[in-house]
């Protein structure tokens, strides 16, 4: 039976993790490679690296991080943040990433999804979609960009469906209303998209407790759940989380 996936997200800048990480087990708390390696051997099913580097030099550092991560860990990982072109994707996948995610660049240029899916295959094209609730939208949710600051006028569900038809192989769905609140994932949003689309959905934003994960799998019908700080600050230990989910009869690895 296909397992529900637990995915830690690492925000990186210039090859280093950005959010503070207080793992005593790491020699270098800012080392994205060390953190990735820790998660890989401690029950994470996949990793997502979100690059927030703005400079060209920083992009070079990202590529060498991807190369090191690919040499070191033996689970799949996705790289997102600032990917705008086929060339960006070529160099990230060429360095050993399994998937890339596109967000605002795909909203500005939807044809990018078709291009990437055709050249690299749908299995490595993840649409990252940031969403806010907006009653004026047909689905009740609007796609937003720039960290949630800029509304796009696009209905979240219709944009996600379009991206699926263009060739996106997976959806990384973040509720900007819930992000950072730690009071649980947006269940109605996740359920709506997960049951409407024919591609896997990773739920993100709001994870605070182990119960939140159970709820997003059981009620939200998510295929995977992503979180950052609850893992980085060791508020939730992944092996314990999986033990809990197993007891709740949710299939996990």
């Amino acid at each position: 039976m296909l397992a529900k996936r637990i995915i830690p997200c690492l925000d990186v800048k210039d090859g280093r993790t950005v959010k503070g990480v207080n793992f005593v087990s790491l020699r270098d708390a800012g080392s994205a490679l060390e953190l990735a390696s820790f998660y890989s051997s401690n029950g994470a099913d996949e990793l997502v690296f979100l690059d927030i580097t703005a400079t060209v030099e920083g992009r070079g550092t990202l590529i060498s991080l991807v190369r090191d991560v690919s040499r070191t860990i033996s689970i799949p990982f996705t790289v997102g943040g600032g990917i705008r072109s086929e060339g960006d994707v070529d160099s990230i996948l060429g360095a050993g990433a399994d998937k890339i995610s596109v967000n605002s660049s795909a909203i500005r240029n939807p044809g990018l999804i078709d291009t990437l899916a055709k050249r690299f295959g749908s299995q490595c094209v993840v649409l990252a979609l940031d969403v806010r609730s907006n009653p004026a939208m047909p689905s009740g949710y609007e796609a937003v960009i720039d960290g949630g600051r800029t509304p796009t006028g696009l209905d979240a569900l219709s944009w996600a469906s379009e991206a699926e038809h263009r060739g996106a192989g997976e959806l990384l769905l973040t509720s900007m209303d819930k992000d950072g609140t730690k009071d649980g994932f947006d269940i109605p949003l996740t359920r709506l998209l997960s049951t409407s689309l024919g591609i896997p959905v990773i739920a993100s934003g709001g994870a605070g407790s182990m119960e939140d994960f159970r709820e997003v799998f059981d009620d939200g019908k998510a295929d995977a759940a992503l979180a950052a700080s609850v893992f980085h600050f060791h508020e939730i230990d992944i092996p314990e989380l999986k033990e809990y989910l197993r007891k709740e009869r949710i299939p996990v690895r």
Partner: protein
């Protein structure tokens, strides 16, 4: 010497990295003589069936592969190409296993691709001598090979059982990605390289 076949289908870096983590030296090659003289041959693959088969035929690698007698391991698309035909691009494949590669049925709640960690059952053969039934490996695929007498591991996706692995003589195939399957995947690769 371990030969990893280089062809048009996708990224082989993950496979090369996994083998190097096991301390194995590998040669990435499309040279028939090198492939024929290897002790073990690995045939990775991420990509689309018809363009991959076209490349193999144009480079004479289809005949080379069919006639190999040393241990051979096809991974993901590599395994699918070892079957008779694939519905992906209606492609005639290598014909090592008399099976037809079929698209997962869409609709009825199915998500395609079948992506993520799934467990292995009905294990048989040397690839799985250090794996227990129920252990998880990582899959990413939209097409599958039905269960047959050549199935050496079976997985199930939403009620549909399919071949997670095929074995026949020196030829082995795995639908999942051992190079991305953590410690279980490493055991499978090690068994292939050290015990077959």
């Amino acid at each position: 010497m371990i030969a990893v076949i280089r062809y048009s289908a996708g990224n082989v870096l993950s496979v090369m990295n996994a083998l190097s983590r096991l301390g194995k030296d590998t040669v990435l090659t499309d040279d028939p003589a090198t492939i024929k003289s290897a002790d073990h041959v690995i045939f990775p693959g991420v990509g689309e069936a018809s363009s991959a088969m076209r490349y193999l035929r144009e480079h004479g690698l289809d005949e080379v592969i069919r006639n190999l007698t040393q241990p051979f391991l096809g991974i993901c698309l590599g395994m699918q190409l070892m079957c008779s035909a694939s519905d992906e691009g209606y492609t005639e494949c290598l014909g090592i296993f008399p099976e037809r590669v079929t698209l997962f049925p869409g609709g009825r709640g199915y998500k395609i691709p079948h992506m993520g960690w799934n467990n292995l059952e009905n294990l048989s053969g040397p690839l799985f001598s250090h794996v227990s039934p129920g252990e998880y490996v990582y899959f990413v695929h939209s097409y599958y090979v039905p269960v047959s007498r050549y199935s050496s591991a079976i997985a199930e996706y939403d009620g549909l059982s399919f071949s997670a692995s095929l074995s026949k003589d020196n030829f082995h195939g795995v639908q999942f990605h051992p190079e991305k399957s953590g410690d279980v995947g490493e055991r499978i690769l090690r068994s292939f390289l050290e015990e077959i």
